[in-house]
């Protein structure tokens, strides 16, 4: 539907011909009404996109298609805790609908508070039916952090705390996929002073494999790749030490960035809107956190229109990293603030220079005291003082 709005803008600016072309490109929308039934072309395209993101050989695409189109769709329980639903939104409302539809096509979404039709008792019944019928077989997807403080009362669904729900669902799941930075590492909710004691899934769940797909929101391709990898190879993809799949989080943004040549050449945007910024130079000096952030943003990109923050002139904010809200802020500075008991020191180098100045002053004072003492001694004992010093 979003595409229709875009095409009308195009028709105003560039005329009828352009409009027609856009409509042809949007043929899978079937008369501008979003059709949840994915056509075969879209299905294959989605699988291929995911295979590309996974970095697997194209010879494996038929196997993935086969796994994805299997009649036995794996049941999925999608738990929402302390979150904004942004991960779900970005997943299901991608401008090009193949990925979103592919997800709904290959999994059986038995419980998802945002998109399920049922509510109240019906919804909870669906959850418990799946838990019993598919124990050990279903995938559990968690969106949002889990508050643990004060017995977890800060997030309750159907009268039960998030901690309780996760403790019931996770051990029965075949695997848990933590989607988004909140369920992976606690996210914004866990930012200091973390009033609700929010934590990620891995802090609470042991015994069931947990994979983290952090990001705010994560790229739908990274989630899809993990699910398809699981369906095709019957196991989760290999991960780094933080539980993130290597196919998506194996490299730093900085090392794959299209502006990297500008960095090496010393061409920087000194401030937003200046000559360097307008010319697409490196955003390092305006606080880009790409050098500290593992993600596939520069390669997978977002929204099927080939963009990611840096490509549109904004630095990376490091949203896929643990404690990103505490360690990546201020977003427009290179280094975080220093947290001391007395408060924040916003400028570590300024503080360093001050302390270095004070040290130099102390050194000067020490030398002066020594010199004065020596002069006093010389006056008292005459010329033969040298041996006493």
């Amino acid at each position: 539907m979003g595409l229709v709005a875009v095409t009308s803008v195009f028709s105003d600016a560039y005329g009828e011909e352009c409009f027609t072309r856009e409509v042809v490109m949007a043929d899978s929308d079937k008369g501008n009404i979003l059709d949840l039934n994915l056509d075969r072309r879209g299905f294959i395209k989605g699988c291929t996109a995911v295979a590309t993101a996974l970095g697997v050989s194209d010879a494996l695409i038929p196997r993935m298609v086969e796994a994805a189109s299997s009649a036995q769709r794996p049941p999925v329980i999608w738990l929402h805790f302390q979150e904004c639903t942004g991960c779900t939104e970005s997943l299901l409302r991608s401008s090009h609908p193949d990925i979103g539809r592919l997800i709904l096509e290959i999994i059986s979404l038995d419980y998802h508070e945002t998109v399920m039709a049922g509510s109240g008792y019906q919804a909870e019944k669906s959850l418990h039916d799946t838990l019993e019928k598919y124990a050990g077989q279903f995938l559990c997807v968690v969106e949002g952090a889990i508050p643990t403080k004060d017995n977890g009362i800060y997030c309750q669904i159907a009268g039960r705390t998030a901690v309780d729900i996760l403790a019931e669902v996770a051990p029965k799941a075949a695997a848990v996929i933590a989607i988004g930075s909140c369920s992976s590492f606690g996210g914004i909710q866990a930012a200091a002073p973390n009033p609700t004691g929010a934590v990620g899934v891995r802090d609470l769940v042991s015994g069931t494999p947990v994979i983290n797909i952090p990001g705010c929101p994560p790229n739908p391709v990274s989630f899809m790749g993990t699910v398809l990898h699981y369906l095709t190879f019957k196991r989760l993809p290999p991960t780094d030490n933080l539980g993130r799949p290597l196919f998506a989080y194996g490299r730093r943004n900085h090392d794959q960035c299209e502006r990297r040549a500008h960095f090496d050449e010393g061409r920087f945007a000194e401030e937003f809107g200046d000559h360097g910024h307008l010319n697409g130079y490196c955003l390092y000096k305006v606080g880009c956190k790409g050098p500290g952030t593992f993600a596939n943003c520069p390669t997978a990109r977002f929204n099927d229109v080939g963009v990611w923050p840096v490509s549109v002139g904004h630095g990376c904010i490091g949203c896929t990293e643990p404690e990103f809200w505490d360690t990546m802020t201020p977003f427009y500075e290179r280094l975080p603030d220093v947290k001391l008991p007395g408060g924040l020191v916003s400028d570590v180098d300024g503080a360093g220079k001050t302390v270095l100045g004070l040290t130099a002053a102390a050194v000067g004072l020490h030398a002066a005291v020594g010199a004065v003492k020596r002069m006093a001694q010389c006056k008292c004992s005459g010329n033969d003082s040298e041996e006493e010093v």
Binding site: L242, T327, G352, K373
Partner: protein, 214 residues
């Protein structure tokens, strides 16, 4: 008054010292540049690569720094009697007495200090602390240099949690070396003036002068 010459510092310790001086100087300058490049250009089509060059110097100096650190750790364990850890740690009565006597001497509260040919214990402890900081500097540095290596990811991740935290610690520890350099150079000059042992020349020649007891 006559003096005798005592061989104190092995050639390896002197190599370590100067490798550390060179590497820390290079690391501080290039590290500062990499953190906040003071150059900026709008020139395109000219391959001068200043940031790349600075980073390469930083990495090379980092390896020199690592080598120096390894030498010192070796000497702490297997060096001569002036270089070994046992001569520095304030755990024996002899070393504790030396620590307090040196502190009083440095505070101008005592006109003499206990004579010792190797490091006095106060200096020795500050060097030990420096080596400890250097270990963390080294781990955070390699964690940033090899982000995709599972070894450094495991070690660095366990200590610093994320790249950004590692970078932050790496940057703050740089300041320690600046403070250390300032105080170290001052105290060396101060000692050189106060006592006739030839402290500064000893780090070139390895020899110190000891007063003969008559």
């Amino acid at each position: 008054m006559s003096y005798e010459t005592v061989r104190v510092w092995s050639w390896l310790l002197r190599v370590y010292h100067w490798a550390l001086v060179v590497s820390i100087t290079a690391l501080a300058i290039t590290g500062w540049y990499v953190n906040a490049p003071w150059t900026g250009t709008t020139l395109e089509g000219v391959a001068s690569m200043p940031v790349l060059a600075m980073r390469n110097v930083h990495f090379a100096a980092g390896y020199l720094f690592t080598g120096a650190l390894l030498i010192r750790i070796y000497l702490f364990l297997f060096g001569n009697r002036f270089e070994k850890l046992g001569d520095l740690l304030p755990v024996t009565g002899r070393n504790l007495r030396n620590l307090f006597s040196t502190a009083l001497y440095y505070l101008y509260l005592s006109p003499t200090k206990e004579e010792r040919m190797g490091h006095n214990v106060l200096a020795g402890m500050s060097y030990l602390l420096t080596m400890l900081v250097a270990v963390f500097q080294l781990i955070s540095g390699f964690f940033l240099l090899y982000p995709e290596s599972s070894f450094w990811q495991g070690l660095g991740g366990a200590i610093f949690s994320s790249q950004q935290q590692g970078r932050f610690v790496h940057h703050i520890l740089m300041w320690y070396f600046l403070f250390f350099a300032l105080i170290h150079v001052y105290l060396v000059i101060w000692n050189e003036i106060k006592a006739p042992e030839g402290l500064i020349s000893s780090i070139f020649s390895g020899r110190k002068f000891k007063e003969n007891e008559n």
